[in-house]
Amino acid sequence: MIELALVLAIPLAAAVLLALFGHYRVAADINSAGSLLTLVAAGMLTIRVISEGPLVVLDEQFFVDPLNVFLIALTALVGFTTSLFSRPYMRIEHDHGRLSASRLRLYHSMFQMFMCTMLVALSTNNLGILWVAMEAATLTTVLLVALYRTPSSLEAAWKYFILCGVGIAQALFGTILIYFAAERVLGPLGGALLWTHLDVVKGGLEPTVLSLAFVFLIVGYGTKTGLVPLHNWLPDAHAEGPTPVSAVLSGLLLNVALYAIVRCKVLVDGALGTHFAGNLMMGFGLLTVVVPAFYLSRQKDVKRLFGYSSIEHMGLITFAFGMGGPVASFAGLLHMTVHSLTKSAIFFAVGHAAQMAGTQIIDNIKGLIKQSPTIGWGLMLGALAILGMPPFGVFTSEFMILTTAIKHYPWATPILLTALGVAFAAMFGKVQGMVFGEPTGRPLSHNPALLPVFLHLGLVLMLGLWIPPYLAEWYRQAARLIG
């Protein structure tokens, strides 16, 4: 109880504090300290859930089970490392005159607010609150994407707001439909939006309504996950926002949106007793893997490139959850973890690389390894990891997804393999061009914080070689919940 309250209250308090003092130099320290405290609280919460089992608290409005506690821990961890990375990064941006002190205040405050909304979305038991938190997460990130106030950043933010606003409105309609179906079973006072209650009676919910609801929900939350054809906002938002924001968008927000879909899928599966929801997710997932793979080679902006790569991986995870079953769901959860860690590490490296080169255009970034071996190798290893090279964890999860596909849906395997191959060819060539050769950029005015990059990559490497038994058990439990 107290742990969960802390997990939610610390970022909120930090956001308020930073709204007042965010323009002082100490703001970056407050930001990191707040994120560290959140991480500690999330760790305590995790230990509590592992030892005592699922937790339902605060008038049943919040609950924590193996599925979301793992995402809460991941969110708190990446939030903390991102705040470490953003210290030198934002200071350099400030030195370059791209951001004024008041913008920095907005940035710091909104960063914490964003963390808070995501943690609420993950821990709430109420599907309505989940929606409200997702919408609030959109609003905070709209402000973050538009932070530089350049024409293209405003355009990206506008597009993001309109597309996700429309999308999430569909999700609200889906939520209303679920409430409608549940109210008939649970009655008006039965907490018909509370997931734990819904889970108990899911077999008795009206199947036609639930299947209609799921269509609206997957379109709605799918827009935020970046599922094709609703992905248009994603590359723009990643390219135009400050890099720490790109890192948390890719690493965390997409996961949270996908989490919302998965939660709803559990209910719909229970009500329908068919593979309808899974088929829909597999269809969206496959499309989302294939389309961006072919866009990758046409990208000129490095952050757009990795934005498209995030779409592709979200497609893969959606496909894995769509297949269902213990192995595929396990692989999906593992892939969520390793993708978050790897992609945020890549964005950390890319952020500093772009600062050194003074541009985000791939062709103008050269010789990173010579100029700064840590940034160069960080980017190179990150790219290899995200492309699914062994021994990194992404390989493990992709291997598991592919083998499950071969077993149950053999027709999908060649499509997936082709897409992964095309993505490899497109991305590897571009990254090679950036890390090797003669450097063109100038050195950074502050030492970059590259500890997060190697911490993340180290964790991904570890997950590729050896998944700690308690973590594996945890994934297994969560996979069982998803079904």
Binding site: N126, V132, F161, P188
Partner: protein, 226 residues
């Protein structure tokens, strides 16, 4: 639902159906309206109709929490949001703006098709719904889709946002007609999100105009797909 609800309903039910019909009509009117100022007034009217219908549902079914949500509608959609919008267009001096809309007849025809689709989609839901307002679920969905269509066909920022808010009206109407409203905490959260979103967008309008010298979204499109 309790049996008492099925008695003495016809009048209230008819009034609610009338409200639903007016909502739909306003949805179409917004689709074809070229003046920004009139658009805001139409939005206000739609909010008011929503308020009236929620109030009637609340009074006839004695669902007290619906009274609160009716009050919330009145406060937010009839007073606060139109006030913010009026202020915005005055300060942006786009009050008398007229947008050139292409193909109003085609848009209207697509709108009619959307209404037919919504009725078809909503039919199975209406059949199992026990609320006195069940006939209006299709209309609520139609309002959402019409607002969606409006969003696609508009190129100026302010009408796009009004379309977004109208969509929210439709959703709220759906919630009232299918289930007698969502739990209060959720409704409050949604209202807060809408209000905060509106304030953020208000700031955005000025930024957009400063950067693009126009509130026309077509002037954006500088980010090109490479």
């Amino acid at each position: 639902m309790s049996p008492s609800l099925s008695q003495g309903i016809p009048l209230a039910s008819q009034v609610i159906n009338l409200c639903a019909a007016i909502m739909l009509l306003i949805g179409f009117a917004m689709l074809a309206q070229r003046r920004v100022l009139t658009l805001i007034n139409l939005f206000m009217l739609q909010g008011f109709v929503l308020f009236v219908s929620t109030l009637i549902v609340a009074l006839t079914t004695k669902q007290n929490h619906l009274l609160w949500s009716a009050g919330l509608t009145l406060l937010l959609k009839v007073i606060a949001l139109p006030y913010i919008l009026h202020r915005l267009i005055r300060r942006l001096s786009v009050k008398w703006d007229i947008e050139t809309l292409l193909n109003i007849p085609t848009t209207m025809l697509i709108g009619i098709a959307l209404v037919i689709i919504s009725f078809n989609v909503a039919q199975p839901i209406s059949q199992i719904s026990g609320t006195i307002t069940r006939a209006t679920i299709g209309i609520a969905l139609a309002c959402v889709l019409l607002a969606f269509l409006m969003m696609i066909t508009r190129s100026k920022a302010v009408p796009q946002v009004i379309a977004f808010l109208a969509m929210e009206n439709g959703l709220f109407f759906a919630a009232t007609s299918a289930t007698y409203g969502m739990p209060m905490v959720v409704e409050l959260g949604i209202a807060l999100d809408v209000l905060v979103g509106m304030v953020i967008l208000g700031v955005f309008f000025f930024q957009i105009r400063e950067q693009f010298d126009s509130l026309d979204i077509r002037h954006m499109e500088r980010i090109k797909e490479e």
